[in-house]
Symmetry: C2
Subunit: 166 residues, 2 copies
């Protein structure tokens, strides 16, 4: 199973691609896509769209994992986060890539063991779980990797439960 986590944003959109094989997690790629803040909005979004489509074509993940945001606390950034996430979801749907959604609490629970973990704790745990030489920074990269980990470890657990029951 190969999962691509996306932490959407207009100025910076984090991504983290993780593969799970035999219960082992292995990072494939992570980074972020950026758009120039001095360009018109439609041009920035169009550039992000192209980059997202290219990223998906290059990595060809089994699933895209995004954060389920029902209520955006920061109304000031909600619009641009929404614009970026809409593009990511459609870019995935267009190539038949399924999308999984998790709440921020589910992600923190999966990665750091409890739902109220700090950004710093998530970054540390992502580093440990993926055996990285350094902490993934800035936070959007760690968040994207954490989304992928959340999905992959959840899948492992679900398979184990199904196997134990059969």
């Amino acid at each position: 199973m190969f999962a691509l986590g996306i932490d959407p944003g207009l100025s910076r959109c984090g991504y983290g691609a993780v593969r799970s094989e035999g219960g082992q997690l292995q990072v494939v790629a992570y980074g972020h896509l950026t758009t120039p803040t001095d360009r018109p909005l439609s041009e920035r979004l169009s550039g992000l769209w192209t980059d997202l489509c290219e990223l998906l074509a290059e990595l060809s993940p089994d699933v895209m994992v995004v954060e389920r945001v029902l209520f955006q606390v920061n109304a000031r950034t909600a619009m641009s986060v929404g614009q970026a996430s809409g593009l990511a979801l459609v870019a995935a749907a267009r190539i038949g890539c399924p999308v999984a959604e998790y709440s921020p609490n589910e992600v923190k629970l999966a990665v750091a063991g409890y739902g109220a973990a700090s950004k710093q704790q998530v970054q540390s745990m992502v580093q440990v779980l993926l055996d990285l030489d350094e902490q993934p920074r800035p936070a959007d990269r760690a968040d994207a990797l954490a989304l992928a980990i959340c999905h992959l470890t959840g899948c492992g657990l679900r398979s184990a439960v199904a196997e134990a029951r059969s």
Copy 2:
């Protein structure tokens, strides 16, 4: 000049296409695109994307006009409005259609004469300006038409000023 106003939304995305010829405004089409609320988010957004691309291909407007939202008052709907608006902006950019943005106050000023006009007043003025048999309802249709009118009347004024100065 042929302008397509878009009032973005996930459940209902309003559109209004208006042509300006010799200072006369003429409605070409208006309505709204909908997505089924019982389907997964990525499927809904993907359907909206397809509909927006088809609408643009069918109408081939000179310009798409959207609302400039710097700060979304309703944080609960900001995400889905953002997702829909992101798709509209990229759909336009992909076919080389320019995008114009106006603040809600600019639109109300252009259509109803003052920036604090009510939704009802905007609907009434859109009906009068476009010589429609009935008021465009619901509000997202009227808002989309108002955006197109705002751009077209502004263009007319700008041309007149440029002519008077030359």
